[in-house]
Amino acid sequence: MGIRRGYRARPLELLAEWFIFGVSFSAMVLVFLIFVFVTREALPVVFGQVNNAVRQPVIPVEQMDNLPHGQLGKYLGLDARQLAQMDRETLKELMAVRVEAAQKVPDDKDSGINTLAWRQMFLPHQWTGYERPSYIWQPVSDIPKFNIIPLLVGSLKTTLVALMLAVPLALAASLYVSQLASNRLREWLKPAVELLAGIPSVVAGFFALIVMASFLKSVFGYESRLNAFVAGVALALAVVPVVFSIAEDALTGVPRSYTQAALALGSTRWQAAWKVVLPAALPGVFAAVILGFGRAVGETMIVLMASGNASIMSWSLFDSTRTVTATVAAELAETVFGGNHYRVLFLIGALLLVATFITNLAGELIIHRLKKRLEGLA
C-alpha cells in the first residue's frame, strides 16, 4: 500500500508514515461514510419495508392468541423488549385501540394507498378529486404524498435556465481573457471575474429575492414574482465563475507553441483561438461545463430563496417552483427523526449523491475519450 519496508532502524520514520497513511485512509473512508449514512436513513423506504397507508389491515382482538409472538409485536409496532414488559390485558387493549382507530378512517380508496411505494414516488396517481392522474408532493397532509417528479422537474428547469445563460457567457469570457486580451489586461480580468465566486450563495439568493425578482418581473411581466426563471438567473451567478475559471485554465494550458504555429501560418488571433486552441482545450472546457452543471443542480440556498418554493408540477419557467435541494433544506427541520418524511428526504439526498457520482463518472469517461482522441491513441 505504498509503505515500503526497511525502516526498522528508524521507528519515528515508520510511525510517521503509518500516521500519514492512516489520515489519508480515513479521508477515503469518510467519503464512503457519507454514502453509507445518507443512504442508511433512506433504506427502509428503498426496500419497501414501510407501508404508510392510512388504512392498515386490522386483526380482530379475538385472534390475538393465534398470532405468533413476533408478528404481534410487528402489528402493534412494539419491539421485543417492550412486548415482554406488557401483560396480556394491555396488549388486548392496544389491539382494541387499533380496531377502533381503523373504524374512524374514511373508507375511500385513497386511504389504502402506500404512498412510499416506488410507484407512488415516481408515477402519476389518480387521487380522488383530481381530474387526471397527477404527480403530487404533499408530505404534510391527511394522506402524505411523496411524488418526487415535481421536484425533479423543478431542478431541471432552474438548472437549464442557469446553464443556458451561464455557459455561453462564461465560455466567451474565458476565450476573451485567455486568448484575446493582452497579458496586462488578463492579469486584472481573471481575478476580477473570479471574485464572483466569492459571493456566498445566500447573498446571491438574497440579491435575487430582494432586487432581481421585482426587476425581472417588471421587464418580462409574468405572474408570480418568484419562479424557476428568477432562480435560474440567480443560479447563473454561481455557475459563471465555476465554468469560467476552469475553462480559462484549460485554454491557458494549451501550449503556446500551438498558437504561435497558427499565427505564423497567417491565422488571425480568433482563428488561432477558435480552430486550434479551443479544440485542443476541449476536454478541459467540457469538464468546466460538467462542473457547472453539478454546481447548478446541487445549489441550495439560491433556489430556496428565489424559486418561490411551490411544489407544483409545471413545465412553465414562470411558475413558482421547488427544487430537490430546496425541498430538503426547507422541510428536514420540521420532520420527526426516523419518520417517513425524514426518510424520504434522506432518500432524496441519496439520489442527489448518486446523481453526482454518475455525472462525475460520465464526465470523466467523456473527458478521457476526448483526450485520447486528441492524442490519437483511440
Partner: protein, 316 residues
C-alpha cells in the same frame, strides 16, 4: 514544381469576423464584470447606510428584527468560531492526505486511485447533502452514542443534537477536497531536484518532507486553507440542521452549544422577516458584513496565488 512568388503584401484591412468575435467575447467579459459591479454597488450603497460601530458590536438580546438596536456580534462570533474550528480539523487532515498522495503513495496504487476518485467525487457533492450527512452521522449516530456512553440516563441529549462542533466537522468534510487539491498542486510544483538533493545528503524521507518540501509549499497550502475558509464562511446549507440557531440570547459557551450565523441570518432576514421593508436596512448591513468577510478572505487567497504564479514563471 511551382515557384512561389513573393506577392506584395496588401494593406491592413478590418476583418469583420475577427472584430465580431473579439467584440462578442469582450462583451461577455464586460457583462460579467458589470453584473458583479451592480451587485456590489447595490449592497455597499444600501448596506453602508446602516453600517455603524453599534451594529458591529450590538447583540440581538432585544429583538433580532429591531432596526435600531439589533447588531451582528453574535453572528460574527458564531461564524468565526465555526470557521476556526473547521480549519483546525480540515487543514491538518487535508495537508497530510496531500502529502501522502504526492510524497509517499505510488501514483498507480489502488489506494491512491480510490482516494483521488473519492476526493473528486467529494468536490462535486451538493452542500445540502453534507448537511444530511452531518445530521445522519455526527448527530444521530456519533452524538447519540456519545450520549449513551458518557451520560447514560440523561434526560436531555447533550451531544446528540445540533451543535457548533458538528457544524464545524460537517464543513470540514465539505472543504477537505479544496485543501487536498491546493496542497497537492503546490507540492507537485516543487522541483524533484530539491527532494533528490536532500535525500542525497542522507536526509530521511520525513526530514525531506518536513524541512524542504513543506516550507516550499507553504504559500500554496495557505491559499488552499484560505479558500476553504472563505467557501465555508458563506455556506449555509450544511449547517441548517447541524448547528445554526434561528435565535439565541447568548453567545455559544461550549462545543455542544448551537450558534447564530451570518449567512443563516441573511437567510432569516430575507425570508422570515415580519416586515421586510422595515428590516431591510439590517438585512443589507448584514449582507455587507458577510461579503466583506468572504471577499477579504478571497482577496488574500488571490493575491498569494498571483505571487506564486509570478514566482513560478520567473523560475522557468
Amino acid at each position: 514544381m511551382s515557384n512561389p512568388v513573393f506577392n506584395p503584401i496588401p494593406p491592413r484591412r478590418l476583418d469583420p469576423v475577427s472584430l465580431c468575435f473579439t467584440g462578442l467575447t469582450g462583451l461577455a467579459t464586460v457583462l460579467i464584470l458589470a453584473i458583479l459591479g451592480v451587485i456590489l454597488a447595490n449592497i455597499v450603497y444600501h448596506g453602508g447606510a446602516n453600517f455603524s460601530w453599534g451594529f458591529f458590536t450590538g447583540g440581538t438580546a432585544q429583538d433580532m428584527f429591531d432596526v435600531g438596536k439589533s447588531g451582528v456580534l453574535p453572528m460574527i462570533a458564531g461564524t468565526a468560531a465555526r470557521v476556526i474550528l473547521m480549519s483546525l480539523f480540515v487543514i491538518p487532515a487535508g495537508v497530510i492526505t496531500a502529502v501522502y498522495l504526492t510524497e509517499y503513495a505510488r501514483s498507480s496504487s489502488l489506494h491512491t486511485r480510490i482516494i483521488r476518485g473519492a476526493v473528486n467525487n467529494l468536490a462535486g457533492v451538493p452542500s445540502i447533502v453534507f448537511g444530511l450527512f452531518g445530521l445522519g452521522f455526527f448527530i444521530n449516530f456519533l452524538g447519540q452514542r456519545l450520549d449513551a456512553w458518557l451520560l447514560p440516563g440523561a434526560a436531555e441529549p447533550v451531544w446528540g443534537k445540533p451543535a457548533i462542533l458538528w457544524a464545524s466537522l460537517t464543513l470540514a468534510v465539505m472543504t477537505l477536497p479544496v485543501v487536498i487539491v491546493a496542497t497537492e498542486e503546490s507540492l507537485r510544483a516543487i522541483p524533484q531536484g530539491l527532494r533528490e538533493a536532500s535525500l542525497a545528503l542522507g536526509a530521511t524521507k520525513l526530514q525531506t518532507v518536513w524541512r524542504i518540501v513543506l516550507p516550499q509549499a507553504l504559500p500554496g497550502i495557505l491559499t488552499g486553507g484560505i479558500l476553504a475558509i472563505s467557501r465555508a464562511a458563506g455556506e449555509v446549507a450544511p449547517i441548517l440542521f447541524t448547528g445554526a440557531a434561528y435565535y439565541m440570547a447568548r453567545l455559544p459557551q461550549s462545543l455542544t452549544d448551537q450558534f447564530m450565523d451570518l449567512g443563516y441570518h441573511v437567510f432569516i432576514l430575507s425570508t422570515q422577516s415580519p416586515n421586510i421593508d422595515k428590516t431591510r436596512p439590517i438585512l443589507y448591513a448584514t449582507v455587507m458584513v458577510l461579503l466583506l468577510l468572504t471577499f477579504a478572505l478571497n482577496l488574500v487567497a488571490i493575491l498569494i496565488r498571483a505571487r506564486i504564479r509570478t514566482r513560478m514563471r520567473a523560475a522557468h
